[in-house]
Symmetry: C2
Subunit: 252 residues, 2 copies
Amino acid sequence: MITTTIIGTGNIAWHLFRVFSLCNEVRIAQVLGRNKEALTYFGKTASLMQKRAAIAKADVYIIAISDDHIFEVSESLIDLKGLVVHTSGSVPMQVLSKHTHHGVFYPLQTLTKDRSVNFKSVPICIEANNEKSLSILSQLAVSVSEQKHIINSVQRKSLHLAAVFANNFTNHLYHIAHTVCADHQVPFSILNPLISETAAKVAEASPYEMQTGPAKRGDLGTQAQHIELLKGKAEKDIYTLLSKTITNMYQK
Amino acid sequence: MITTTIIGTGNIAWHLFRVFSLCNEVRIAQVLGRNKEALTYFGKTASLMQKRAAIAKADVYIIAISDDHIFEVSESLIDLKGLVVHTSGSVPMQVLSKHTHHGVFYPLQTLTKDRSVNFKSVPICIEANNEKSLSILSQLAVSVSEQKHIINSVQRKSLHLAAVFANNFTNHLYHIAHTVCADHQVPFSILNPLISETAAKVAEASPYEMQTGPAKRGDLGTQAQHIELLKGKAEKDIYTLLSKTITNMYQK
C-alpha cells in the first residue's frame, strides 16, 4: 500500500485522485489546495493549503500544479520525510533537489476535468534521484497504468515538445478546420472519421510515408484556391508555411 | 442492382472495388486502367484503357483518377449513356457537364491501398445534375456506407480544404513529433494514446475549448526552450507561427 498526498486541484490532480481512489494499492492521505471551491470535489481528504498547514504524512507527495509554482510549493514540504515529485512534462527533476528523495510522475496525456480517460493506457513517465524512490514510483505507476516508462529529464522535455506538436498544434489545426466548415455551412462532424483514421494510421506506419495531399504533390493550383477560400490572415499564413515545408520535403 | 465501371487503379479505385465486390446491390462491370501491373489486382474485371477501348455498359462510370486528368478521361466516355461521376474533393462537378447525366461520388477519408478501413463509417459526399442521377448515387452510397451527405461543389471544396488541415497538415505535425522523438532517443509510440485521445476529443467538444499548452498560456519561457530544442529551421518556423496564432487567439 502506497500512501499519497496530492497538492493541487487542477486537471492532473483531479484525474490522479479519481484513479487512486479506485485503486486498492493506493491510499490518498490528503489533497491540498488553495481554492476552497475546487477542493469540494475531493471530499473528506481535502485541506486548505496555507502557511503552516498540517500536512498529512505520506509515502509520496505529488505536486500537481502549474510549472511556475512547483519550486515555491516544494519549499513548504521541506521538513517532510517522504518522496516529493512533480507531474510536469517540461520542468527538470532538479528543481526538487532540496528534498532527499525526489522525482517526477508525468502522465503523458491530455487530461481535462469531467472527461474520463482509460487510465490503464496513459503512459506514465517516471524519474527519481535514487533506486528506492524509483521503485516506489514504479509501483505507483503500474498500480494505475499498463504503460510505465523510465524517462530522464532531457528525454521528458523532448517528449513534451513532441506532445505540443501532436496535441496542442494538432488541436489548433482541428480548430481551423472547424472554422472553415462553419464559414461554408458544412457540418464539422463529417470530418470525424477522417480525423480518427489519420490518428489511427500513425500507430502502424510512419507519418512520413502516410503523407498525402496537394502540398506533397506540389499541386500549386489547388493550393492557390485553398488560400483564397481561407478568411483570416493567420490561417493563410499557416496554410502557406505548412504547404511549403511539405513540398520541400517531398519534391527533393 | 447498380452496375458500375471504375476508371483508375489508384487508392480510391482500390477501395471502391473492394467494397463494391463485397456488396450484393452493386455489380462491377469493368475496371479500366493504363497501368498493366496495377490492373492485376482487379482480376477478370480489368481492362487496359487505350484509344477506342471497349468500355462495358454500366449504370455509373466512376472516374477515380488524379484531379488533373478527370476532364481528359471524361471525354473518352462521351458516347456512353450512363451516369458519369468523379471522386475528387476539389474538382467542380461542372467539368463533367458534357455528359447528360453527371455527378460526384466523393469518399471523405484518407484511403491507402493495403490498409482496409471500415467503409460503413466513411462519409460519402454526393452531388448530381438531376434528380434521377442523385437518386442512383444515393442508392450506391447507402449500399456501402452509413454516412451519405448531399454536398454541392462549393461546400465540397470547403470540406476538402478543412480535410487538408485535419489530415495532411496534422499528419505533418505527427511527422515533426516523430522527428523530435527520434532526435532525442525516445520511442514515438509513447505518444500514441495522446494522439488518439486528441482526435477523440473533437468528436465531443469544440477544439477551441479543448486547447491547452504553453502557447495558450502565453508561457514564453517554455516556448523559447522548445524552439531551441528543435533542429530544423522549418520546424522552428512552424512552432513559432502556430504558437503566435494560438496566443493571439486566447490572450485577447
